[in-house]
Structure formats: C-alpha cells, structure tokens
C-alpha cells in the first residue's frame, strides 16, 4: 500500500508503533495519521510564521482551496500540500456552515423537529426527515399506516432521483461538461416541481413527520409522477451519449481517486463510495425499512473504486429508483396518511369547529408537543450519500434530550485526503465532486 510507504518521518511514528504493539488488529490505522501531520492550529501556524526557510525540506507548498471555490460544493476548504502539480497530503477544513442544528434540535419539540433536520442535507431533505421520524416512531412504539409508508417511499425515491440529478449536474460542471450542468438542473427542477405540488415547497419540505406525512397526495399526483417517469429514461440515455462513452470523460474519471474496499470500510464510508469498491451494501436491501422488502430493485456496485464507478453508480441508481417508483405506483394502498393515535396526531380540522376538546387537544399538541417515552433509539436510512442515521435520547419530555444526526457527507469527507493523495490537482476536483458532499449536512 503506497500510503504507508509515503508516510513522512515524524513523531507520529512512535504512536503508530505503540498501537501496533498493543495487538490491535487493524492494519489501516495509518490512514488518518498520515494526513494528521498537516493539521496545525492557526495559533501554532502563526508562531512558526517567521521560521527560516529550509531549502532542503521545504520543497512542498501549502495551497488553500476554498472555502469559496466553485468546485468545493459550498464552503469546503481544503489545505493541500503540493509537490509541483501533485497533491501529497491534504486536510479538509470544515465548519463554515455550522449553525448548531443538533443543539437547536434539543430546544424544539418532536413535531418541530423535522423543520430543523430538513435543512441539513438540502439536496435530499426528505431523507433526514425520514430518519428523524423513524427514530421518534421507534421510541413511541407506533406503526404508521400502510399508505403513509408507501407515500414516504415514493417521496424519498423521487428525492433520490433529484439528488443524483444534481450530482450529474455538478459533476459535469466540475469536469468541464458544462452542458451537463444545464441538463441536470433542468431535470431536477422537474422533480422539484412535483415536490412543490405535493408538499408546497421545492426544498426543506417538512413533509415526513413523526406519525406519518403532513398531507395526503394531491389530486393528479399519479399523472405528475407518470410524466416524470416517461420523461427521465430518454434523458438518461442522452447523458450516456454525452458522457459515459466519451473518451475525454472517461480519461478524466477512470483510475482517479481510487479507494479499496478495506480502506472505505476502515474510514466508515457508506453509500456510492462503499459500493464503488464492490461491497454490495445498501440498507434498503440489507436492513430494510419502510416497505423496501416488497419492491424489486438491484444494488449497483462498481469494481474499481474510482470516480468513474461512483459516477456510473449514481447514474444507474436513478434508473433503479425509477424502477422502484413504477412498482410504488402499482402498489400504492388506500387508507390514512397518518397514524390515528390521539397522542401524536392533531384532530382533523373539521372537528375543531365543533368540539372544545378537539380545540384544546390541537392547541396542546402544537404548543406543548407530545411526550415521548424515556429511552434511546437509532434509525438509519439509505440516503443518496450513504447511511443517514438519527440517534435520539428522550427523557420523557416533549423535546429530545439529545438529537444526533449521523450525516453521511460528514463521514465520507474523511476519505478525501486518501483518494486525493499523490494525484494531480486537477483530479482533486474530480475526487471532491465524486464524493458529492453536501456542506449543510457536513457542518450541521
């Protein structure tokens, strides 16, 4: 493994030796340590600012990329140690978008919770709402009606399509296929139009809530979905013509940012990054939630673990999602769209006009919130970026005592230094793009 060979001599060697001496079985412990050398606090850096330049050892140059660089998808900053055109070590610096959403979550009721978490991963907001709602439902011990389950599946699969289309657009833009950017955004907008029809908003829907969904599907939803399903496959064929087979596109992506299955697993990477290494792990199949055990779909895996595999996986996952949505259209059951449990569900609007109790009940639920039994729970869903988990500790009050979101973008970002190491600077852009981080979720 080249990573260990290139480890520069430094005092971290002692730590690594001590760890391997303790008999810990993992051979990959060097992974974070190599790049750790780069990390220096701003105070330490300022102290050494006036150090004399040592010609022999100062052959590399530190370059700051971002936080406002067009290819860093928002506000990701990278410290790159450059040896000419080649990236040696690197360190992602994050936190520019940190607004303390986990702390905010502790001060919002369970009903207000989805409004908060939906703003984390703004490219696939419904997944965070889903993970949060599943966790709360696990704590409450309630089961949502069939129709709500299938509506959730429909909405999250459409969201997966929208999110992957956004990836197609930004990936194209980062690599110079600018027309792809326009096509990707155009198709995504069509999906967002469907979301607007169902939830009232293009993004940050607050649609999936503990106990079900906010509203039933509107009239004409079936036609709207049908139109999308008809429109998308030929467009995907166009993407194939435009990019997949193109020698320039392949040269830019194939063999760039390679990661092995063992490295991806050691670095806790999930989603397309893990699947690109050939590990067929998808929570929808391996630990099914909602009703994914009742639909048929394939897990798309790669074999080289490079950026091209990650691109191809996402493109084909759009096709698999379309396949799932077709089955959802056939199987969508009738019934209620939210659980009829007076503890968590507000009374229907019409009842409020005629019953004092219903009015009080409504008022209580929206001001005080509903109480959730003591305990802790973790629920995970397969978001377009990997495992999106939500861990909630409840103390029996109407607000979570602790709400933690395991953001796949945040954890997948750890693979960046290893995938970029010893590659060209221009390839670093391709690698960042292929990780597809959403900074709102990274920083939370």
């Amino acid at each position: 493994m080249t990573i260990t060979d290139q480890t520069p001599e430094s005092d971290i060697g002692d730590v690594a030796d001590a760890v391997s001496a303790s008999g810990v079985p993992n051979q990959l412990y060097e992974l974070p340590r190599r790049h750790a050398v780069l990390r220096m606090s701003e105070v330490q850096a300022a102290e050494r600012a006036n150090d004399p330049i040592d010609g022999e050892n100062d052959q590399t140059m530190l370059v700051n990329m971002g936080p406002s660089h067009p290819s860093t998808h928002g506000v990701l900053r990278l410290m790159l140690e450059m040896d000419g055109e080649i990236v040696r070590r690197s360190k992602p610096v994050i936190g520019y978008l940190h607004t303390g959403m986990e702390k905010t979550g502790e001060n919002l009721t369970y009903l207000q919770g989805p409004t908060n978490v939906t703003r984390m991963d703004y490219a696939s907001p419904l997944f965070t709402e889903l993970a949060f709602s599943l966790t709360v439902e696990k704590l409450l011990g309630i089961e949502v009606p069939e129709r709500a389950v299938w509506i959730r599946m429909l909405m999250t699969e459409m969201n997966r399509i929208a999110s992957h289309l956004l990836f197609m657009a930004t990936n194209g833009m980062d690599l110079g296929a600018v027309s792809m950017m326009i096509y990707g955004w155009r198709e995504r907008e069509e999906v967002l139009r469907f979301f607007e029809m169902v939830t009232g908003l293009r993004m940050n829907h607050n649609y999936i809530r503990p106990g079900g969904v906010a509203a039933d599907l509107p009239d004409g939803w079936r036609d709207a979905v049908g139109r999308l399903l008809e429109m998308l496959p030929p467009r995907l064929e166009e993407y194939d013509i435009l990019m997949t087979g193109q020698p320039i596109w392949r040269d830019r992506l194939q063999g760039v940012g390679v990661i092995t299955a063992a490295e991806a697993m050691a670095l806790s990477a999930t989603g397309p990054i893990l699947r690109s290494t050939g590990v067929p792990w998808d929570l929808r199949r391996d630990q099914p939630y909602l009703a994914y055990d009742q639909v048929e779909f394939d897990i798309v895996v790669g074999s080289y673990g490079d950026s091209f595999d990650r691109y191809a996986i996402r493109l084909n996952e759009i096709r698999e999602s379309i396949r799932i949505v077709h089955q959802i259209l056939d199987k969508m059951p009738k019934g209620d769209y939210r659980v009829q449990d007076a503890k968590v569900t507000p009374p229907p609007r019409a009842r409020i006009d005629e019953s004092m109790e219903a009015l009080i009940h409504h008022f209580k639920i929206f001001t005080e919130g509903f109480k959730v039994p003591e305990g802790e729970a973790y629920a995970a869903v397969e978001s377009p970026r990997g495992e999106l988990g939500c861990y909630i500790v409840s103390d029996g009050s109407p607000k979570p005592y602790r709400m933690h979101i395991r953001g796949p973008s945040f954890i997948n970002l750890q693979t960046l230094p290893h995938m970029m190491a010893d590659g060209m600077l221009a390839d670093a852009v391709a690698v960042i793009s292929s990780v597809d981080p959403i900074m709102g979720e990274v920083d939370r």
Binding site: N26, S41, V279, Q287, A380, S397
Partner: protein, 182 residues
C-alpha cells in the same frame, strides 16, 4: 441426576445462580443490556479500546457512529446494568457487521472532572472526524487521537456548545414594525 452428584466441578459452576442473583450477561467481557433496537455493551473506561479490538475481530467492520450525551440535567432514569456507575458524560458508539447484518452499540461512562477516553482511531480510523466532533462540542478528550482539534467551531472558540450548561442564546423578536390588523 446421578451425573450431577458425581462431578463436583459442574456443581460448583452452577452454584453461582443459587443465591437468587443471576450472573449478569456479558459479551466481549462487558456487561450487556438490550436496547430498543440493538444490544448495548457497557465497557468500563479502561476496557474501551480492548472492547473495540474484540468487536473488530468479531466481524464488526465499521464504526458507523460515535457521539456523546451530556446527562447533567437528565430527569429520567438512567437504565444502566448493575455495576456501572452513571457519570455525567456518556460516549456512545455503534458498530456494523456487514456479514451478519448486525448492529451493536457501546456506551462508556466518562466523568466530568476527568473527561478522557481512549481514541478508537487505532482500530477504526473512521472514528477520526466523529471523535473530533465530540471533542469540539462536548470537551471530551480522546487519548492518542492523531489530531484532536476543533472541527466545527472556530479554533479560538471558548466552551463546548452541546454541553447542557452551555446556554442556547436567543434573539428577541419584536413585532413593532409589523402591520396591524387594520
């Protein structure tokens, strides 16, 4: 019956159950309790790293999540197995086994006056960012972490926002300029 009387050793082994208190269940040498969704291991603080080594050897390939909880103002009941002293902080990690499709959660109690735990990065390098996040937001230190520095908050920040004694702060909203009903 006759077999049991015959051998002293088996009798001694089953003797421990006789005093009415059943032997607490252990896995990987740690006390174990059953959570809502998965088994929960409760290692002692000095067992933390060996437990992870044992989990890794047993096929838990990935550290899927690592976070902490500050129990300073918790009103409810801490459901810990007998023998585990509740402390202010609790570092919670969950692990995933791909082969058996199994998850397991590990919790370690961390006292406020000595908030240090062994870093998991030597076994699970993927715990790197997660531990930095816990260090940043809770002020819990991870011994032998390759680069324990703030990750989300600015380097010069004072305080640890996710601690329960850290105030949220609020911006007062005034509706002065809002249009009236008529």
């Amino acid at each position: 019956m006759s077999d049991e009387v015959g051998s002293d050793t088996t009798e001694e082994a089953s003797e421990s159950d006789d005093d009415g208190v059943p032997e607490p269940e252990r896995r990987y040498g740690c006390l174990v309790s059953s959570g809502l969704d998965m088994a929960v291991l409760h290692p002692e603080r000095d067992q933390w790293l060996p437990t992870m080594g044992a989990l890794f050897s047993d096929g838990f390939d990935m550290c899927i999540d690592l976070t902490a909880v500050d129990y300073l103002t918790y009103d409810g009941q801490r459901r810990l197995p007998a023998g585990i002293e509740p402390e202010r902080f609790e570092v919670v990690a969950s692990f995933l086994c791909f082969e058996r499709r199994e998850r397991i959660r590990t919790k370690v109690q961390v006292p406020a006056d000595d908030a240090v735990v062994a870093s998991a990065t030597s076994v699970y390098p993927g715990a790197d960012f997660l531990e930095r996040e816990v260090f940043d937001l809770f002020g819990i230190e991870f011994a032998d972490h390759p680069d324990l520095s703030r990750i989300l908050m600015p380097e010069s920040w004072i305080g640890h926002p996710l601690r329960k004694d850290y105030a949220t702060g609020a911006i007062p909203v005034q509706f002065k300029g809002a249009p009236g009903p008529r």
